[in-house]
Each structure stands twice: as C-alpha cells, then as structure tokens.
C-alpha cells in the first residue's frame, strides 16, 4: 500500500503536504521592496468567509475581530443593530422565526448570542461578579439560582476541543516537557539567516551555493556541534552529507522513525512547515521567485523541512526520554489528557441570559426537560463563535456601506456643474486614498481647480534608473513586466559637474560604508571610537533633539556646496530601426508608443477636452527613517517604489509637440498653451518636488505660480488633516505648524509612525470626480477618474478594473488581516524589531521573521473588505468581470464588495450572493461645512461623509470664486 503511494510522484504525500503549506505560508519577499498583497491569497478561490476561516484555522489565527471589539462597535454606534438583525434574517431565511424556547425564536437566540456576553468562558469572572453583586444576573437572583441548579443537572453545553495535537511537540508541551521547538528554532533561525543573508554579515553560511540541506550538513560535518537539546543530530547530518541524501528521503526516513504514517503524515508535515512560518515562508517565496534573491543560495522549502526534522528528531527523543514516554506517534498521541469539563456556572450564565430574553421564570427553568435543554445547547453550538463574528463582520460592513452610499446619493442629488469656463489648473494624482485629502484641499480653493486620479505609474511601465541608481528597477504594478528602460541623465552643460560630483559621492559613500563595517571590527572599532565617537555623539544629539532642523540644515548646506546637476529623462527613442541588444530593453519610448501612452491615460481620466494652462502630474512616495517598512508607504502602483519618475516621464511625453500631434489625431486636442509638469508628493513629509521646471516656458510662469501656490496651501492643509490622527500633535494646530510637525515626523529617528499609510483605506470609487467633488471622504477612498461617456465599449473600464481591483484588494486585505490578528498575520509592535540579513525583521535577538504589517501601521484601521463603487451599469460590470478572471474571482467570491452606480440614473446595486441587488438609499441630510477642516478637526476619530461647500461647484451651492482668494501672492492661512 505505502509502496504504491510512493511510486506515484504526483501522489507523494510529502510533496502534497508541503504544497498545501506553500499556500498558507506568508508570501512576502525581502522587505526592501514591500508590496501589499492578500495575506490569504491562496484561499482566494473560495468565498471570502470560507477562505478566511480555513486560512485562520490552518494558522491558528483569528479570522475576524473579536466579539468584544464588535460589541464595542455596536455600543458606539459604528454597527447599527438593525444591520445585525438584518444579517441574522438573511443568514437564517425561513428558519429564523422558528421557536426554540417558548418566547424565543431562533433569530432572537442568535441575536442574544451575538450582542450579549451571556456565552462567556470566564467562569472565575462570573463567580466574582455575582459574589460582588455587580453581575447582570443579580437583577434576578432567583432565576440565577434556578439556572445554576438546572445547569448542574445537565446535560451540559460541552466544550469543543480547541487544542490540536498534530506534532510530537504539541503533545510533549501538553505533558509538561520543555518545548523542543525553542532549541530547534534557535538553531534554525541562525542557520537560516546565515544562509539567506543578502549582505549584512561579513561571512555567510559556507557552501550555501549547494542549497540549504547540503550547506547545513556540511557545516556539521566540519565539526559544528548541535545545541544541547538537539545533541545527536550531528551524526545524522554527517551521514546525510556523505551520502548526499536528497531532502525527501531524509524527511521520509525521519517520519518513519517517528512513527508518523498514513493520514497523520499530512497533518504532521503541514504543522511542521507552519511552525516557523516567517522563515519557512521566505524559503518558499524565494524558491518561487529566485530573482528576488541576489545571492547564490538556492532556497527550497523541502530542504528547510529536512534540516528542521534532522534537528527536531533528537530534540523529541530527548524530551520523550526525560518524560519516560515513547517517541512513537501512535503511542504518544494517546497520552494527552482529555479536556476538563466545562464549569456548570458558564452554562448557567448562558441559560440565564436566554431565559431572561425569553421571559421564562425560575420554575419554568427548573422544570425544563433534558431534551429541551439539549436542543437549546445544540442551537448554541451550531451558531458558534466564528459564525457570530462572521455575521458581525457583515453587519460592520453593511452599516458603513449604508453611510457611504447614502452620502453618494445625496451628493448626486445636487445640481450638476454647469460651469463652462476653462479650468485654471488641473492636478493628476495617484488614486491612492492618502491623496483624497490633498485633492479636496486644492478643490476647496477654487472651482477652477480640477483634480483627477490615475494609477500612480501614469500608464508608463518602465524600468527606471535614476542618476545615482546602480541598476534599473521596475516602476509599475507588480503584475506588469516593463518593456522599456528609462534613464535619468545629466544635461550637457552639467556633464562635467556631474562627473566630479559623482566621483566625490562614490568616494564618500564608499568611505561611509567602510566606516560602518570597520567600526564593527576589533582595530577599526577602536580607531573609529576615537576618531568618530565624539563627532557621532554631536550628530546623534542634534538628530534626536532637533530632528527637522538638523536634517533641513544638512540638506541646505549640501545643496549649496554640491548642488544636484540638472537632468533630463531619456524619454524618446529615435526610430532608427536599430534593435536593442539581445536581452536588453529599449531605452525610451518611440513616438508611437508615447502617443499611445499619453492618449490612453488621458482617455482613462476622461481628460479629453478643456485643458487648463497648467496640468500638474503628481506621483507619490514616502520618506522616513529607522523604518524597515518604509517601502510599504511608497506607491503600490509603482511596485512599492516612488512614482516621481513616472509622473515626470508622462509630463515630458505630453509636452512634446510631435506627441501632441499624434494624440490630436486620436481626437484629443491638447492646446498649445497647456503645459504638463511632473512632480512627486511625499506622503510622509507632505513635501512636493517638481521636475524639469527649467523647461517651463516663461509664458506659463504666472499660471504655474498660481498652481504652485494652490499646492503649497493644499499640502499644509493636508498636513493638518493628517496630524489630527497623531495623538502627539495637538488638535488646535494651524496648518503651518502641522506642516512642520509632519516634516519632523518624517526625519525623526525615533518615530514609529512617520505616517499612517493606507491605514484608513476602505472605499474605492471609480467614476467622474464631479459626482464626488465636495464630499468629505476622510482619506478613506481610492478615487479613480473614469468617464463612462467617453468609454462606449467599456475597454477603459476593463483596463481600470483589471489594475485597480487586485491592487486595491491587495492593500485592503493585507490591512484587514494584519489588523484582525496582528501577531499572526501582522508583525506585531515595531519597537523590538531587528533587521536581519537585509531580508526582513525579527523580534529582539532571535525570532521568526515577522511578516505583514506592524501594529503601528494598522492601529487605526477598520478591517473591512474594499467597497468598490463603479460608475457603470451592472451589465457593463458583469461583462468586464467576465473577461478579467482575477476581478471575477475577487468579486464572485466576495473578497471585495462591488457596487454599481448607473451613470445615467444614479440607481445603485450591490453585488451580493452572486447577483446585483438594488440598493435603495435612505434619504439623508448630509452635514454641510464651509471648509473641510471644520468637519474633521473636531475629533481624532474617523468622520462620516459631509459636504464641503467651498469645494462644491457654484451650481450646487458652492461658494465659487471669492475675490482675491487666488490672486498670486495672496497666501492666507
């Protein structure tokens, strides 16, 4: 029988178990480039709730927020109780009104189990509060006595077995032995990080080019000793190295030896692979993506598991010997003691809650039949903890969805913009929800300021090499492979200076590198102490006491002494017919390609007529110090990098007369007096950096000045809106103070929260900005510009959804998981993090690699599935989803919530249970404020949508042009 299994390679149980583990292990690459992804991507083929529950079960994680958190949300009004009842009714259907107890329907029972804490597992707490006379039950003590007596008679509710015994270690720990994993993991972490190290250590694991198993076994053959708890592993290691045994043989032999066979094998190996998920996941990830691993160290999951088992076997044997038990799995697992019975007081508490809800008296409880009670318990068991939280999650999302959709409907009911004047300035931002506030701050200044949202790589997928980058890096969504390279090059007149500067820079950096590494050596450390110690103390002092000024002055001095040379991008490639060398990508875009890119982005945006004199294109990125997760704050649409180069490239293309000619042939007439400017918005310091201003024609100077001032005011306003979230910034800041505050955050060595990142993401609106302009969305909405009027055959919609759906879902789901269980799916608090091997962080001196998002990034997050609202008919959406399998999977399996808004009528429909259900908005009177700061600066909490009058068009009651407000030079607070 076993032989038969072994012969079929596809049916190899080891490979099968490891394959299953690969699906669950964290799929995060080296931390230098952080890309948001669905933490449970492997479960995306299942419906959301099934997937989340299965994934959480496999990892022993929490699938949702806890019941306590949900109940707090209910108490604070964040969840509407009507939505809870609605979810129960939807889940139960016709079974809801059935009677369980006299006076208690099943729906009511479920509601009781969800919103009250009658069903608790805190027996000591109940006993204490009753004795102290402060328990709920004290309201009716006779009933309590009856319940207690009845519960003692039985039958009991019973406890589900929550402990899981899949590995020897689980049983050994339950039996009171020292955890063998402590020693095994310690050794594995050291060996694994020595193997994976991307250049932090001077010397990596010797022989790592042979793969992990061979390198480790050779390491032991050379005389290394195993840790005390794993003594005896050395001999096996030597044997494996001598015979060059393949990893799967090693695993099979050890499993045999441990007595793990048949059905147990799968569970054992799966649990073994997941015992150290961070490192194991990194091995599995690098096995699939060797391009992310720059060193010659072929990582494979099977090698890691083999080494692990080689260490684990002696540790298990030793622990079993000390306890005097057999190490054979079939014997060992029978030794576990059964679960202790559930205390009757817990049953009594639940019974009291339900009896009170049903209006039963003490004698009725006392007289309750065993069968009735058992039936009641069966109902409670069937509606278990996870199911309760599942319904709560739905209600949590439904309440929020109602607020947003009602607000959108109310905004839509306002008269449309009838202004036909030429806009004064246009701003194209990334769709990122962090840009929602700065867009609003611009729009509040003048009705003639128009903003757009496009995926932050602005349609130009490139491998970009900046002036000082060593090699090109992809600046585009991860699913796209760029076909072009673009380089930043100094202009001719600065070539000499550039060479001089680069030489000096290289020497300085080499010196700095050498100083850093030699200060770790014996003689170098002594030398550096005397040479640099006092100097470094002065620097540290300045950086800690005056973080902002010290960085500012440093930059100022540097830019005086050694200013950056002027540069241009290699945007256009002459069409000389020369093919690039084999394996190299063309540098720059041909004319046709440029025309394509510009025309398609403008069409996507719906920006095909009435161009303003100045169009600013802003990519974004984030600067922070002492932050291993810095890259997670950069632009997701640029593959975890900064979007400045893309914005600059796009603007450069769009300014070329020949490109404009080509674009004109496609029906988009960019007037000659329109100028595009590329820029970079730093979402941490709220600085804006403009590119290529030297080439701005003097004719546009006044128009640019106006746009620049609008952005200056907007970024300060944006800083103010962000700083209300930081508890160490007072709420009565003015905008200039707030700007200084966020600048200090971005340059502070001690700042674990330079910015809150995507922490507030929850909505994505694809549609005309006219329909959301003037709505305060509290930095929670990805805003994608899309005009259904210019997209008759839905090709634009398809492009947008194919890009935005997966990226938005990736961000929202990563935040979801990292906030529902920060210890398992996220990486816990940042404070003890320790960068290891340049591939990730661990806690303290040795721990597993921590993947996911740190607590400081998610602490404000409300975990919900992305609410994707699209300005398109349900038919159009279904057609598009049918052509895009990934979008179809996300929507069909409800990993995002899709809402269709009919472009003509405004009718809304929510995609639920496989089809679009019409949504009837509740008529709401939105709060109206003049400026958005009046709305959000009152509180640090999330705020509901409101109308901001100054951003509304005049026709919709906006304030319109205030005299003098936008005159150049008239900066006002």
């Amino acid at each position: 029988m076993r032989l038969a299994v072994e012969q079929g390679a596809s049916a190899d149980p080891i490979e099968r178990a490891l394959e299953r583990a690969r699906g669950v292990l964290p799929d995060q690459g080296p931390i230098g480039v952080f890309i948001h992804h669905n933490t449970l991507h492997a479960y995306q083929h299942l419906p959301f709730h099934e997937g989340v529950q299965a994934g959480a079960e496999a990892l022993s994680a929490r699938p949702y927020l806890s019941l306590r958190q949900f109940r707090d949300a209910l108490a604070s009004g964040r969840i509407d109780d009507r939505d809870v009842r609605r979810e129960i009714a939807l889940a139960l259907g016709p079974r809801g009104p059935e009677t369980i107890l006299p006076g208690l329907t099943r729906a009511e029972l479920w509601h009781q189990l969800m919103v009250t804490d009658a069903d608790t597992d805190d027996a000591a707490g109940i006993e204490f509060t009753i004795r102290a006379g402060i328990a709920r039950e004290c309201a009716n003590l006779t009933l309590w006595e009856a319940c207690l007596a009845r519960a003692r008679r039985g039958p009991g509710l019973g406890l589900a077995e929550r402990r899981r015994f899949r590995r020897h270690r689980d049983v050994l720990v339950a039996l009171g032995a020292a955890d063998p994993d402590v020693a095994v993991h310690g050794e594995l972490i050291r060996l694994g990080s020595g193997f994976l190290d991307q250049g932090q250590a001077h010397a990596p694991l010797p022989g790592r080019h042979q793969g992990f198993l061979l390198a480790v076994t050779e390491f032991y053959s050379n005389g290394a000793s195993a840790p005390l708890a794993c003594r005896g592993a050395e001999a096996d290691m030597c044997r494996v190295f001598e015979r060059k045994e393949p990893a799967s043989h090693v695993i099979r032999a050890i499993l045999d030896d441990l007595g793990v066979r048949g059905d147990d094998l799968d569970a054992f190996l799966f649990a073994t692979a997941l015992a150290l998920p961070g490192f194991t996941g990194m091995f599995a990830r690098l096995e699939r993506h060797p391009e992310e691993h720059r060193v010659e160290a072929p990582a494979t999951l099977v090698d890691l598991v083999a080494v692990r088992l080689l260490l684990e076997r002696p540790a298990i044997a030793r622990a079993c010997r000390e306890l005097g038990v057999s190490a054979s799995w079939p014997v060992l697992r029978t030794l576990v003691s059964p679960v202790p019975p559930r205390p009757a007081v817990l049953d009594a508490s639940l019974l009291w809650g339900l009896a009170s809800a049903a209006g039963l008296g003490a004698h009725e409880v006392a007289a309750m039949e065993d069968a009735t009670l058992e039936a009641l318990w069966a109902e409670c068991r069937a509606f278990d903890d996870v199911r309760r939280r599942q319904l709560f999650q739905e209600a949590y999302e439904r309440t929020y969805r109602g607020w947003v959709l009602d607000a959108l409907a109310a905004r839509r009911a306002l008269p449309a913009d009838d202004n036909e004047e030429r806009p004064r300035a246009q701003f194209i931002f990334c769709i990122d929800e962090r840009e929602e506030s700065i867009r609003r701050a611009i729009e509040e200044q003048h009705p003639g300021y128009i903003t757009f949202g496009a995926a932050g790589f602005f349609g130009v997928a490139i491998d970009y090499q900046g002036l000082y980058d060593r090699e090109p890096a992809a600046h585009c969504p991860v699913v796209v492979t760029p076909g072009h390279e673009v380089h930043e090059r100094p202009v001719y007149t600065d070539l000499g200076w550039h060479r001089l500067r680069q030489g000096a820079r290289d020497r300085w950096h080499a010196w700095e590198r050498r100083a850093a590494s030699s200060s770790h050596t014996l003689s170098g450390g002594a030398g550096m102490s005397f040479l640099l110690g006092p100097l470094s103390a002065v620097k540290t002092f300045a950086r800690v006491v005056a973080p902002r000024s010290s960085v500012l002055w440093g930059d100022r001095v540097l830019s005086r002494l050694a200013p950056l040379p002027n540069t241009r991008l290699s945007t256009l490639r002459p069409e000389d017919g020369a093919r690039p060398a084999e394996g190299r990508k063309p540098v720059g875009f041909s004319l046709d390609e440029s025309v394509d890119r510009v025309a398609s982005v403008l069409t996507n945006l719906g920006l095909v007529r009435s161009f303003a004199p100045i169009v600013v294109v802003l990519g974004h990125g984030s600067t922070s110090l002492n932050n291993p997760h810095e890259s997670a704050h950069d632009c997701g649409a640029c593959g975890g990098r900064r979007g400045g180069a893309n914005a600059r490239l796009f603007a450069d293309m769009a300014n070329r007369p020949d490109v404009r000619d080509g674009v004109r042939k496609r029906g988009i007439d960019i007037p000659a007096d329109t100028w595009f400017i590329g820029a970079l918005h730093d979402t941490a310091s709220d600085a804006v950096l403009y590119y290529d201003l030297e080439t701005l024609p003097a004719l546009h100077a006044a128009a640019f000045d106006e746009a620049w001032q609008a952005l200056e005011r907007a970024r300060a306003e944006n800083a103010l809106e962000r700083s209300r979230r930081f508890q160490d910034a007072p709420l009565d800041f003015d905008a200039a103070q707030a700007l200084r505050h966020v600048e200090a955050r971005s340059s502070h060595l001690a700042q674990p929260r330079p910015e809150y990142g995507h922490c507030t993401n929850s909505i994505c609106i694809v549609g005309r900005r006219q329909l959301t302009r003037g709505l305060h969305l509290d930095r929670r909405a990805f805003l994608v510009s899309y005009d259904p009027a210019v997209d008759t055959n839905h090709t634009v919609l398809e492009r947008i959804l194919a890009a935005v759906g997966p990226v938005g879902a990736g961000i929202s789901l990563e935040y979801y998981f990292s906030s529902v269980d920060n210890e398992t799916f996220g990486c816990g608090t940042k404070l003890p993090h320790n960068v290891t091997g340049l591939i990730g962080v661990m806690n303290g001196h040795q721990s597993d690699l921590r993947t996911g998002l740190p607590l400081q990034m998610v602490e404000l997050h409300e975990p919900m599935r992305l609410l994707l609202i699209v300005d398109a008919t349900p038919e159009a959406l279904l057609a598009v989803a049918g052509r895009q399998p990934e979008v179809a999977e996300l929507v069909g399996n409800a990993w995002i919530q899709l809402v269709s808004v009919d472009p003509a009528t405004g009718a809304m429909a929510v995609f639920e249970r496989g089809r679009f259900e019409p949504y009837e908005p509740n008529p709401t009177l939105l709060p109206v404020v003049d400026r958005s700061r009046e709305w959000h600066m009152r509180t640090r909490e999330h705020v509901k949508p409101a109308l901001v009058r100054s951003a509304l068009p005049v026709s919709a009651g906006g304030q319109g042009l205030r005299p003098g407000a936008t005159a150049p030079g008239a900066l006002h607070a």
Binding site: G32, S193, G194, D197, G199, Q200, A201, H202, A203, L205, P206, F219, N222, G223, A224, S225, L228, R470, H509, E512, S519, H520, T521, L522, A526, S529, F530, G533, P534, S536, T540, V544, L625, N626, N627, P628, E630, S631, Q727, D728, L749, A750, Q751, R753, T829, K830, L831, P832, N834, T836, G837, L838, M842, N843, G844, H845, Q846, S847, Q856, E859
Partner: protein, 433 residues
C-alpha cells in the same frame, strides 16, 4: 562651596529617583495609569536636574569659580549597628565626575528619544520609571565613595537592566533572556559582595580612599580581592565566559538597548575596575587574568560579528569586542587611555544602536558591496569553516553554562520534589487543592 557641592551631589543622585517617586505615587494612588505627558515630564525633569547637578559638580571640581574640591564628601552614616558603620560618602575625582556627566547626559538624551519612540506603547510608564531608576543607579555608582553605596547602585543598574530585557514580557523569548541576564548578574555580583566584606575585613573600611593602604596587604590577599572585583566586572560587562546574555539583551526596545548595551551599563564593569585600580595595581596575577579575559573576549566577539546577520546582535558583539579591549587596557595599567576609549566608544555606539533599524534605508542609499573572502578563508578554508561554526554558535556558551550548573538545578529539583511530598503528606496545601 561645600554646601553647593553637597547639594549638587545629592541632586544628581536623588532627582531621577524623585521623578520615579512622583510617578510611582500616582500609579499607586490613582485608579488608572498616569498619562504619557505627566510621566515623561516628571522623569525628564528629574533627569535634567541630574544633568545640571552633575555639571555643577564638574564646575566645582574644576574649580572654575573658587577653590577646586576633590576627594570624599561626607553625608553622615548610612547605617550604624553598634560600632559597625556604613558611611554615606561620595567621592569627587576625575573619574567619578567624567562618568557622572557622561551617564546623566546620555540618559536624558535617551529619555527624549523614548518619549517619541514609545508613544502609545502600553509599557510607557514602566519604561520611564525604569529609566529614572537606572539614572539613579548610575549616578550612585559613578559618585559613590565607598563600596557599600557603590554596590547599591550596581544592583539598581542590574535589576533595571533585567526588567528592560524582559520589557515585552508577553512573549517567551524576552522573559527567558531576562532571566538569563539576571542569573548571570546574581552570580557575578556575589564577587562584588564578597569583595566588599573582604575589604572591610582586610582594610577596616570599604571606602575607595582606604585602597591607598592596599600596599599593606599580603600579595595573596590583594590577589583574592582583585580577582573578586574582576569576576564582578566580567559579569556586568559580559566578558567570557559570561558573554551569552549580551546578544539576548537585544530583546528590549531599541533605546534601552542603546543606553544599556551600547553606552552605559556594559561599561559599568570597566568603571568598577578603574575605581578599585589600586588593588589591581598590586596584583599581577589578577591583571594578567584580566588581560587574558579581555583579549579573549575581544577576539571572540570580533569573530562573532563577522557572522551575525542581524543589526542589533552584530552591534552588541562589536561593542563587546571594544569592551574586551578596554578591559585589557585597564589591566595593562593604561587607565587614562582606557577612560578615554570607554567614553568615545560609548558615544559612537549610542548613535549606531539608535540607527540600527535604518539598515535597509542605508543600504538603499549607500549601495551595497559584497564582502570578499577573508585571508583565513583564502588560506585555510577548513579552519575558516570551523571558525564560522564556532562563531555562529557563539561557542555554545549558554549550553555550557547550563551543563555546568545542571547539578545545582538537579539539587533544586530534588528539593522541590521533597517539598511537594512533605506538603502532600502533611496536607499543608489545605482542602482547596
């Protein structure tokens, strides 16, 4: 003048403690924890007062306005039992003033850093209370004029250090590491305690000024005394064979690692030796042992740095290598060089620790250069592999210590079992169990 310096000395030591007391009273009396602003303000006020006071001591010591003061400053008796007196005496001299200013400034700087770093951390109040306690401990060690007061400060440093390592006590590893550091301290501190008693016995007084009479001791007596001091210093400064706890001490939040294991606490053992230098001076055996231990630790730590893949662990061993060197310098008699080396080194490491999480950012900025093979790897690859293994496993120091102490633990387990048996047979646990 004498009043000024007495006030300044008392303030330098007691003001951080006063800050701790203010916060402590609020914790004990209030029904919820004091807020971050209150806590940080109380402790910071204490620390800044301590900085100013230590600067004032420096001022007076240098004699900038008036007579320079140097030597013992009496504060009466700490404890008196019959004829036996423990004096409350502080000492002002070059070493004590240097260390006092240096430690108070760095602690205040770290407090400023932590105010931002620990914002919203549940252990915020605990962190600052420990920081204030630590400041008092270091000032006491720096300024003590006799071994008894010195020992009190020494223990305060030890206990706050162990609590900082176990700061994140909801996870297992920090707690295990904290206990290991604490146990190491207990073992080696016995050296200092015994040395104190022995000094009292031999010299009649445990004042540092009494060590001038050390020449009257027999060579063996002096050697025993010096070796006891050395043992104590080795534990506190993580010299071989006690080096195992140092990398584990990286479990705490970054600023506490910087202050303790980069700057102040790790150098405390060296300071002890500088303080009792007259004893070491007359004992060539102890000095030879110190040089051997220091150099061995330096070589060991430098080898471990080469293989360390994590930022903080590498820094810890880089620090340890220099501490080993300084120990050797002291034992060779180059005390002035050692003091300068100690201060400069602490200043360098403080900044490096605080910037340890910036590793990825720096690599992006500076680019990366692969390390070539070393001379050893080129000429003796087999030996290089063995060195690599030994370094990666840090000589398995912790395991060896566990083995060495296993008989003690065996006795402890035996006693525990006996105790349980007695309790069971006499039913001392009552009916509750």
């Amino acid at each position: 003048m004498s009043l000024v310096i007495r006030m300044a000395l008392a303030l330098a030591i007691l003001s951080p403690l006063a800050g701790v007391a203010v916060v402590g009273v609020r914790v004990l009396l209030g029904d919820r924890q004091p807020g971050e602003a209150t806590t940080a303000r109380a402790i910071a006020t204490g620390l800044i007062a301590s900085v100013l006071a230590s600067l004032a001591v420096l001022w007076v010591f240098l004699g900038i306005t008036g007579q320079a003061i140097d030597g013992d400053i009496e504060f009466g008796d700490w404890l008196r039992i019959g004829d036996f007196v423990i004096p409350a005496v502080l000492r002002v001299d070059g070493i004590s003033v240097t260390i006092s200013v240096f430690a108070s400034v760095l602690t205040a700087l770290i407090a400023r850093f932590s105010r931002t770093y620990l914002h919203k951390e549940p252990g915020f109040v605990r962190f600052f209370v420990l920081l204030g306690l630590f400041a008092t401990g270091t000032q006491l060690v720096a300024l003590a004029g006799a071994l008894e007061l010195f020992f009190a400060g020494w223990e305060i440093i030890g206990i706050s250090s162990a609590f900082f390592i176990g700061f994140f006590h909801e996870r297992g590893e920090p707690v295990r590491s904290s206990i290991r550091a604490f146990a190491t301290y207990r073992f080696s501190d016995a050296g200092l305690l015994i040395a104190t008693v022995v000094t009292l016995e031999f010299l009649g007084s445990a004042r540092f000024s009494a060590f001038e009479r050390v020449g009257t001791l027999e060579p063996t007596q002096a050697t025993v005394l010096a070796l006891l001091f050395l043992l104590s210093a080795m534990g506190k400064s993580a010299q071989l064979p006690f080096s195992g706890w140092l990398p584990r001490a990286m479990e705490g939040p970054t600023p506490s690692s910087a202050l303790f294991y980069g700057a102040v606490s790790i150098h405390a053992g060296l300071f002890l030796l500088l303080r009792v230098w007259p004893v070491l001076e007359v004992s060539p055996v102890a000095r030879a042992a110190g040089v051997a231990v220091g150099l061995a630790t330096a070589v060991y730590a430098a080898a471990v740095v080469r293989v360390h893949t994590d930022a903080k662990g590498a820094l810890a061993h880089a620090t340890l290598a220099q501490v080993g060197l300084i120990l050797a310098e002291i034992c060779l008699g180059w005390t002035a060089l050692a003091l300068a080396h100690l201060v400069c080194h602490a200043l360098l490491r403080l900044g490096q620790y605080l910037k340890a999480p910036n590793m990825i950012h720096d690599t992006h900025r500076l680019g990366h250069e692969p390390h070539g093979p070393s001379q050893l790897e080129r000429w003796a690859p087999k030996l290089a592999d063995r060195v690599y293994a030994a370094s990666l496993h840090r000589l398995r120091l912790d395991d060896r210590i566990d083995v060495a102490f296993s008989p003690v633990l065996g006795v402890a387990r035996l006693l525990e079992r006996a105790d349980r048996w007695v309790r069971r047979t006499l039913s001392l646990d009552g009916a509750a169990s």
